[in-house]
C-alpha cells in the first residue's frame, strides 16, 4: 500500500512547472499588430492651444503638456481611470491637500465648480487657489464617461489661471472620440 501511495505521490508531484523560462523570436516590426490599441491612439482626441507643448509625464498619464504663462510654466496632466476613479470629493480634496488646503464637502466643492459640456459628456471644471500662497493653485476638469473618468489637471499659479483659463476651457471642450 505504501508503494502505491509513493507512486501516486510521484505522479502528482511530476507537474512542477510553476517557473519556466524560454526564448521567443522577436516578432517582425509591425507595431500595428503588436501594440494593443490605446485610448490615445484610437479614441480620444483633443485640440491643443498653440502655445502648449507636450512634455514627458509619469507612466500613468495619458498625456502631459507644458502650459506657459507670463510667470512660469504650468504642468497639465490627462489621466483616465476606471469607474469614477475615486470620485470628485476624494480627488479634489487630495489635490487641495497638495496645495496645503483643507478638505471640503462635496456640496462645497460643487458650489465652486463650473458646469460645461463637450461631445463626450457634461463635465465640471474646478478652480482651487491657495489665497495664502498664490503660487499654489490648480484648475481641473473631471469628465465622467460610461465606465471611466477623464481627469485633466493643470498645476499652475493663481496668476497663470487667469491667463490661460480660456485656453483650458477650449482644450477641455474639444475632447471627443475619434475624428468626430
Amino acid at each position: 500500500m505504501i508503494k502505491i501511495l509513493f507512486i501516486l505521490l510521484f505522479c502528482v508531484s511530476c507537474d512542477n512547472n510553476d517557473i519556466k523560462t524560454y526564448r521567443v523570436a522577436k516578432a517582425p516590426v509591425s507595431t500595428k499588430s503588436v501594440q494593443p490599441p490605446t485610448i490615445t491612439d484610437n479614441e480620444l482626441k483633443w485640440d491643443l492651444p498653440k502655445s502648449w507643448s507636450a512634455s514627458s509625464g509619469s507612466s500613468m498619464r495619458l498625456a502631459s503638456y507644458n502650459v506657459p504663462h507670463s510667470s512660469g510654466v504650468g504642468d497639465l496632466s490627462i489621466m483616465i481611470l476606471a469607474g469614477d476613479g475615486g470620485g470628485i470629493e476624494a480627488n479634489i480634496n487630495r489635490w487641495r491637500g497638495q496645495i496645503n488646503l483643507g478638505s471640503q464637502t462635496l456640496s462645497e466643492i460643487n458650489n465652486q465648480s463650473e458646469d460645461r459640456k463637450n461631445s463626450l459628456a457634461n463635465y465640471q471644471i474646478f478652480t482651487v487657489v491657495n489665497e495664502d500662497n498664490l503660487d499654489k493653485a490648480f484648475i481641473c476638469a473631471i469628465i465622467p464617461l460610461a465606465d471611466s473618468t477623464i481627469f485633466v489637471k493643470l498645476n499652475i499659479s493663481a496668476k497663470g489661471i487667469t491667463e490661460i483659463e480660456d485656453d483650458f476651457i477650449y482644450f477641455c471642450d474639444s475632447f471627443r472620440l475619434g475624428d468626430g
Binding site: M1, K3, I4, I7, D15, N17, D18, I19, K20, T21, Y22, R23, V24, A25, K26, S33, P36, T38, S58, S59, M60, L81, A82, G83, G85, G86, A90, N91, N93, R94
Partner: protein
C-alpha cells in the same frame, strides 16, 4: 499492473486471509453506491451554485477539487469522489471471483467504465485549453489561456529573441516568496486578487512604492460570474534588484503600460498576463469567411483558410464550424471572430487533450460488454423459462 504486483506483494507480506478481508472492504459495492450518490449531490449543488458563481467557479469549487467546502464543512470534492470510485472499481476487479469466463460481459463492461474514469483523470490533469487569435495575413503560434495567469519577466536586450521567464499563478499567493535562479531578483507576493480595481491613493505613498503602486492601490472586488472578464491584480515586493528598483509594485491584467525593473545592469519588463503556450508549429490566417442566413444578421457558418506551418513544411487547411483541425494532440475549433474595417480576426478554441479518445473507446467497450453479457445470458434465461 502496478496495483496487481502491489496486491500480490501485500498478500505475501500480510497473509492471504487478511488481504482478502482488506480487498473485500476496499472493493465493496457500497463504496461505489455512496460515491455515485455523492456525485449526484455535487451535481445538484454545483448546478445551483452556477447561478451565482458562474460556470467556471462552480466547476472549480465542486468538481475540479479534492475538497468541496459546504460553508465551513469540508466534504469530498468531485476529484476525491471519482478517485475513490476508480480505486473501488479497480479493487473490485482484483477479486478472484470476478474473473470467470461466464462473467466475460461484465468484465468487459467494468473495464469500459474503468477506462472512462481513467480518461476523465487524464483529461482533468493533463488537458489544456485556450484561444488562438489571428488577424488575416498574420501568423501565430501562441495559445492564450482563458483562466490561468502568469507574471512574466521579459529580457528583450537581445536583438533576435526575448528571454521570457514566467511565474504561474499557482504560486502567486499572498506571502509566497519566489527565489529562483531563473528569476533575476527575488519577489515576495503581498497580495493577489482574482478581480480588482485600481483606486487612486488619497495619501502620498512612501518611497518604497514604485510604478503604479505610487499612485494607486489595487482594491479586491467580488469576482465576476464570467471568469474571463475578471481584472486580476498583484502587489509584490522586489528585492535583490538595483537599489532604485527595489520596492513594492502593483500591476493588473492587461495593464497598458508595462513595468520596467533594472537588475544587474539589465532592464526587464514585467507584466501580468494570461498564461501563454508557444506551440512548436504556427498557423497563418489567409482568409476568414462568414456566410449569413439570407436577409438576417445571423451567421450561418464561418470558416478560416489557414496555412499550417511546421518548420519548413506548410499545408493549407480549412477550419470550419464542427470541422476542427487536429494536429500534434492539439485540436483547433472555429470559435469566434471579430470583424474589422480592413481585416477580420479569427478566434480558435484550442484544446490539447491526451484523453480525448477515452470516451469513444470506453463507450464502445461498455456497449460490447453489455452485448456479450446479453448474448451469454439469453440462452440461460431462455432455457430456464422453457424448463418452467
Amino acid at each position: 499492473m502496478i496495483l496487481y504486483i502491489s496486491v500480490i506483494h501485500l498478500g505475501w507480506v500480510m497473509g492471504k486471509d487478511r488481504l482478502k478481508k482488506i480487498l473485500n472492504t476496499l472493493s465493496s459495492p457500497k463504496i461505489f453506491i455512496c460515491t455515485i450518490f455523492w456525485m449526484m449531490v455535487l451535481v445538484v449543488l454545483g448546478t445551483l451554485a452556477q447561478k451565482d458563481l458562474g460556470l467556471y467557479e462552480a466547476q472549480q469549487r465542486y468538481f475540479s477539487c479534492w475538497i468541496a467546502w459546504l460553508g465551513f464543512i469540508p466534504t469530498p470534492g468531485g476529484r476525491t469522489a471519482l478517485f475513490v470510485m476508480t480505486f473501488n472499481l479497480m479493487f473490485f476487479m482484483l477479486k478472484p471471483a470476478f474473473w470467470s469466463f461466464k462473467k466475460i460481459g461484465i468484465i468487459i463492461t467494468h473495464t469500459g467504465v474503468l477506462l472512462l474514469l481513467l480518461g476523465g483523470g487524464i483529461t482533468a490533469w493533463f488537458s489544456t485549453e485556450g484561444n488562438m487569435v489571428i488577424k488575416e495575413g498574420e501568423i501565430s503560434n501562441v495559445i492564450i489561456d482563458l483562466f490561468a495567469k502568469e507574471l512574466v519577466i521579459i529580457d528583450d536586450g537581445n536583438s533576435e529573441y526575448d528571454q521570457i521567464t514566467t511565474i504561474s499563478d499557482n504560486i502567486l499567493k499572498p506571502g509566497s516568496k519566489i527565489e529562483s535562479d531563473l528569476v533575476p531578483f527575488d519577489i515576495e507576493v503581498i497580495d493577489y486578487h482574482i478581480n480588482c480595481e485600481p483606486i487612486r491613493r488619497l495619501d502620498v505613498a512612501g518611497p518604497e512604492y514604485k510604478g503604479l503602486a505610487q499612485n494607486f492601490i489595487l482594491k479586491r472586488i467580488p469576482n465576476e460570474k464570467e471568469t474571463e472578464v475578471n481584472r486580476t491584480g498583484i502587489t509584490f515586493k522586489v528585492t535583490g534588484a538595483e537599489d532604485v528598483a527595489n520596492g513594492i509594485y502593483s500591476m493588473f491584467l492587461a495593464q497598458q503600460i508595462p513595468q520596467k525593473i533594472s537588475s544587474n545592469g539589465k532592464e526587464y519588463t514585467l507584466a501580468l498576463r494570461r498564461e501563454r503556450t508557444h506551440l512548436p508549429f504556427s498557423l497563418k490566417l489567409d482568409d476568414f469567411k462568414k456566410v449569413m442566413h439570407p436577409g438576417t444578421d445571423v451567421a450561418k457558418s464561418y470558416s478560416s483558410d489557414v496555412v499550417l506551418i511546421d518548420k519548413d513544411l506548410s499545408r493549407p487547411v480549412l477550419i470550419r464550424m464542427n470541422e476542427p483541425l487536429r494536429y500534434m494532440n492539439y485540436t483547433f475549433y472555429q470559435s469566434s471572430f471579430n470583424e474589422g474595417v480592413d481585416v477580420d480576426t479569427s478566434i480558435f478554441a484550442v484544446v490539447k487533450n491526451y484523453g480525448r479518445l477515452f470516451p469513444y473507446i470506453s463507450s464502445l467497450t461498455i456497449s460490447l460488454g453489455i452485448l456479450v453479457h446479453m448474448f451469454l445470458r439469453f440462452p440461460i434465461i431462455f432455457n430456464r423459462r422453457r424448463g418452467k
